[in-house]
Each structure stands twice: as C-alpha cells, then as structure tokens.
Amino acid sequence: MSLLTPDPGLLFWMLLCFLVVAFILGKWGWPAIVGMIEERGNYIEESLKKADEANAALANIKEEAAKLLSDAKNERLEMLKEASRLKDQMISDAKTQAVAEANKIMDSAKESIQLEKDNAIKDIRSQVAELSVNIAEKIIRGELKDAKAQTDMINKYLDEVNIAKS
C-alpha cells in the first residue's frame, strides 16, 4: 500500500527544503532570537537587582535623613534652651550690674553733695564773718564820728589791752 511507502520525490524535496530552512534559521533566525531574549532576560534581572539595591540605599538614606532631622530638631531645641538660659542670665547680670552702678553713682553723688554742702557752709561762714566785721566797722565808724568818742574808744581799748597785759 502506497500509504506506508515513502515517495522518493517527496523524500527528496522534504530533505532539501527542511535542511535549507533549518540551516537558514539556524544561522540567522534562532541565534538572533534566542540570544536576544537571553540577553534581555539578563538585562532585566540585572536591572531588577539594581533597582532593589537602589531601593535599599534609598531606604538607608531616608533613615539617615530622618535621623539627621531628629538630631537637628534636638539640637535646635537644645540651642533654644541655651539661648533662653543665656538671655535670662544676661538680663539678671545686667540687672545686678545696673543696681551696682546706680548705687555707685548714688554714692558719689552723695559724696559730692556733702562736699558742696561743706564748701557752701564754709563760704557762708567766711561771708558771715566779713559781713559782721563790715557791719561792726560801720557801727564803730558811726559811733566814732566825733573826736572825743574816738579818744574814748581808743582809751577804752588801750585799757583793755593793758589790763590784758597786766
């Protein structure tokens, strides 16, 4: 039966065609396709790995950033506290200094006032003395308008002096 006996003509053509197709595809078809698919697969795998690494790095960076941020916040808080403490200290320092200065000024003022007062009193004294002498002179002059009175006067003083001498 011809069904089970291969026809030589078809055998020939089949062998020829198949070998040609297998050769052409083996040279220009499959290597390009399979090679490219493999290469792309490797590329994708690598890219995924890289992406994973990048993600991990990013997470690290985020953590670091968060840490930095919290550190900075703490530092700021500390600085604010320090600043407020310094401010208070400065204010209190200034206050005590001001009080001391004021006291000093007051003291020196008091002193100078005392000095002025003393001077003034001295002045007044001398002026009072002068005035009293002048007044006395004027009074004496009034009394010694005539010669007789004058001589009386002189005698009186001379007596006094004598008496004092004796």
Partner: protein, 362 residues
C-alpha cells in the same frame, strides 16, 4: 451599563449568526449531496484522494468541471529529463499519455506517473501537492522567523524593547520550548541542537495547522505523510548518533548489567542496538499516524453525509447535523493535536539527543 448590555447583545448576535451559518451550511451540503445521488460515491477513494499526494491541487468541482491547479512534473526516465505541466496528463478519470508517461490507474503505483512502455516508475521529482505545501510552509517559516529575528536585531541597536505583534505571540512559545524543554532535556551542549529542535517544532506545528485549514493554501496532509515524518525522524536519528558521546556508545556495547547478560551471548547489546532504531521509528510513525488519522476522521464524518444523502434526503439531513457537530469537535481536537504532536516530536527528539550526550560517570 448600556455598554455591557450592548456587549451581551453582540455576543448573542454572534452566536445566532454562527448557528444560522451552520444550519445553512448543513442544508447546502445536503442539497448538494442529494443532487450528486446519481453518481456512485466511493467513500474510500474520496478519503484517500484527499489525504494522498497528487499532481494537481484540486480545489473544487463545479458540476462536471474540475477546478484545480496543475503543478509541474519533473521526471527522469528512459528518454531523459522531462519537465511538463500536470494538465497534459489529464485529470482523474480522463488520464492521457504524454511523452511516454502516464498516470497509473491501478496497481501499486496507482495515481503516480509511470512509463507507458515498461510500467515502471521513473525518477519522479515532481512538484506535487505536498511539495507545494512544503514550499509554502517553508517560505512561511522563513518569513515569520527571519522577520522576528530582524525585529530583535533592530531592537539591539536601540537598546532593549518590548516585543510587539507576531514577535510577542511567538516569544513565550520560543522561550518556553528553549528554556523548559531543550535546555533540561539535551543538557549542557544544548546550543548545538536548539536550532534543529526549534525548527522541527515550528515546521511540524505550522504544517499541522495548515493541514487542518480546508481551503487552498492549507489542506494538504503533509505531516500525515510518511515521507515527511521519515525525513524528520532520520535527522533526529543522525543527530543523536553522530554527536553521541563515548559514554553513550559504551552504554550500548558494554552496558551496566550482570556479565551473563552481555557475554557470551550479547543479549543486552542486541536490545540496545535495536533501541537506537526503534526510537526514531516510533517518532516517525507517531506523527504520521496521528495526523493521518485526524484527517481521515474528519473526511469520513463529512463523507457520511454524502453516503446517507444517497439513501434519502431526510437521512442525509439527520446525519449531517450530527456529522457537522462531530467535525467541529474533531477540528477543535485537531487544533490541540497539532500542537501536541509538534511538541511531542520535539520533546522526544530533545530527549533522545540528550540521552546520547551523557558524560562518563566518575
């Protein structure tokens, strides 16, 4: 909401349309079949005429006129090389002599060109129906895979890119065949054989699919032809044994069995050597028988309509409904078989080649 209603309406419409088409088809076939009742129908001849090889590609017959494509005949006989058109030899039932050749009507060479004087077959390299189908499928294979390869190469220049179109359809198939079957089956030397194995798979798959398409470019029963499967099996056989390792040959001539089994009577060697040949023969017969049987089943089921229509129109109608349903079922099954047989042939080839690639055990 309205979109989904439209969609379901569209689907129901489609189903109705297909059903109507089926009914019309059935009625048409029966009407045609009962109009042919005058002639006696030879079911066997019809079936084998369709799945066999021919010098004409018969497309259809309208009334008494055969519409077919005559193919070139190339024969080398007693009077040298002759190339002529098959139409010179006439057509079925009306064979003519040409240049000392004719198509035998009976005997072992029925349907084939013989020399009138001797009744012997000349060297016949005619481009028959199967050869044309083979050329078409080879051209398709080259066009498809070279264009895909070109796409990949183009991609390489511009960096890597997403596969599109045909490339996207075939890439998963190629990758799964290459990575999941060829690599593990053949072993570490897979690169040498992957081109052959991939070509074998797609060659068989494409031809199987073309075989179940009933209109012109398809319809030839190429993978259901023993010559084709024989060539493929012989190639696998050659690749297996030419590239077989030392360990492989040692396993054949000095296998790991009790000494009594290999000396003085070489029983195991005999079995092993037989195994070298039975493996490719099984490959050859399996593919041939599967594809052949599928075609026969479909043709017989269709033929039944004509057989019953000859008895009566009612019987024809009744049988045709069942036949058409069965043919639809068979065709769907064939779609599956197309893939499975290509897959099995390639997987077994890969395994046989892989078995011959064994390394010396330490």
């Amino acid at each position: 909401m309205s979109q989904s209603i439209n969609k379901t309406m569209g689907q129901t419409g489609k189903v109705l349309f297909i059903a109507l088409l089926c009914i019309l088809g059935v009625v048409g076939i029966v009407a045609f079949a009962s109009s042919e009742t005058k002639k006696d129908l030879d079911l066997k001849e019809m079936v084998f005429g369709h799945i066999g090889d021919a010098y004409n590609w018969h497309i259809t017959t309208v009334g008494e006129t055969h519409i077919s494509i005559p193919l070139p005949c190339i024969v080398y006989g007693e009077n040298g090389l002759n190339v002529f058109c098959a139409s010179r030899l006439g057509h079925e039932g009306h064979y003519k002599e040409y240049n000392g050749y004719k198509i035998a009507e009976e005997g072992d060479n029925a349907g084939k060109i013989i020399e009138v004087s001797t009744g012997q077959r000349p060297v016949d390299l005619s481009i028959t129906k199967n050869v044309v189908s083979l050329l078409i499928s080879c051209a398709l294979l080259l066009i498809i895979f070279l264009s895909i390869a070109k796409k990949y190469n183009k991609c390489k220049e511009t960096g890597y890119c997403k596969p599109t179109g045909l490339q996207a359809i075939l890439e998963p198939l190629i990758v799964s065949l290459h990575d999941d079957i060829i690599k593990p089956s053949v072993g570490k030397n897979y690169k040498k054989f992957s081109a052959y194995l991939l070509t074998v798979f797609f060659f068989i798959f494409l031809n199987n699919v073309l075989g179940i398409i009933p209109i012109f470019p398809g319809g030839a029963n190429l993978t259901g032809n023993i010559a084709v499967t024989l060539v493929l099996a012989v190639l696998t056989f050659l690749l297996t044994n030419i590239f077989g390792t030392k360990a492989y040959w040692k396993d054949i001539f000095w296998p790991h069995v009790p000494i009594g089994l290999k000396l003085p009577i070489p029983i195991m060697q005999f079995i092993e050597i037989l195994g070298i040949f039975t493996k490719p023969i099984a490959l050859c017969i399996r593919l041939f028988a599967n594809m052949f049987a599928g075609h026969v089943m479909v043709l017989v089921l269709i033929g039944l309509i004509f057989v019953f229509s000859q008895m009566s129109v009612v019987a024809g109608l009744g049988v045709s409904v069942i036949s058409v349903l069965l043919v639809v079922f068979m065709s769907l099954l064939e779609c599956l078989v197309c893939f499975i047989q290509a897959y099995v042939f390639m997987t077994l080839s890969a395994l046989f080649i892989g078995m011959a690639q064994v390394e010396e055990e330490e």
